[in-house]
């Protein structure tokens, strides 16, 4: 697979939404392609930042945070 194809799949790769075959192809590509690896890292960090936003309690509730 070419870099352009790989990069389109990086979000699905991060979300474990790819079938085994494609996942392995990307794994192999990432071992040798610094550019795609860097893209994956920055995308993963971006997602991690978004995931870090914690829940708020709605007004008038006393439910504990999850």
């Amino acid at each position: 697979m070419k870099c352009e194809q790989i990069q389109l799949l990086l979000s699905q790769y991060l979300d474990n939404e790819l079938d085994e075959l494609r996942r392995k192809k990307i794994d192999r590509h990432l071992q040798t392609c610094a550019s795609c690896s860097q893209d994956l890292t920055s995308l993963a960090k971006t997602v991690r930042v978004l995931h870090a936003v914690s829940d708020l309690n709605p007004p008038g509730t006393t439910t504990k945070k999850e």
Binding site: L10, S11, Q12, S42, K45, S54, P58, P59, T63
Partner: protein
């Protein structure tokens, strides 16, 4: 949040596969999730409360028509997104958000850490609100903040799963580019100096 007035008993949904559940139970189970979805979409605590109430009111009024083809959470999420979009169409003005009014999770400790978290939260929500197209904001909130599956998002937005995949990826790339371009030095520097703060935000 106030609940719709009832005159007799709990409204119950029942079919042969699932036990009946009450309106109170529905609200109790999903209120927090829906409030947070609304808050992340509009970034305004008062408006989030309004959207949450409106969502449950609409759900209450249409509960008989809920055919359980999707999960209740997905159905409520769809109502929430549609309510938000309808409100948004009414007023399309760019608003700045005062750092001070942003709610911060309960935490009493080092004041410096509170400031860091406020700044991070501000950065995250500011980019979502003001630097991304609305369809990118909605899909990022549904997936990365409210953690819906691709299939659930497709149902909420009425689009195909493959459209979800491509839109989500474009949205994440746009978000990443704005993070990198933003003035939030902590995030630009490889996120490293605020990592701990981000984890606890």
């Amino acid at each position: 949040m106030e609940q719709p007035a009832r005159t007799k008993t709990n409204l119950e949904i029942s079919n042969s596969d699932q036990p009946p559940y009450s309106w109170e139970e529905i609200v109790r189970t999903h209120q927090r999730y829906i409030y947070n979805l609304a808050y992340r979409l509009c970034n305004d605590p008062h408006e989030s409360d309004d959207i949450t109430q409106e969502t449950f009111l609409k759900a209450f009024e249409n509960l008989a028509g809920f055919r359980q083809e999707a999960s209740l959470r997905t159905w409520l999420s769809r109502i929430t997104v549609n309510t938000y979009l309808a409100k948004k169409q009414k007023r399309l003005k760019h608003r700045s958000i005062a750092l001070e009014i942003l709610p911060v999770p309960d935490w009493s400790g080092n004041p410096e850490r509170i400031v860091i978290r406020r700044e991070l939260r501000w950065c995250i929500h500011h980019i979502l609100q003001h630097h991304l197209p609305r369809n990118y904001r909605v899909i990022l909130v549904l997936r990365d903040l409210n953690r819906l599956s691709y299939e659930e998002i497709a149902t909420v937005l009425g689009i195909s799963v493959s459209a979800v995949k491509s839109r989500l990826h474009r949205a994440r790339l746009a978000y990443r580019d704005h993070l990198l371009k933003s003035g939030c030095a902590g995030l630009v520097r490889d996120y490293s100096c605020y990592c701990e703060g981000v984890q606890e935000l």
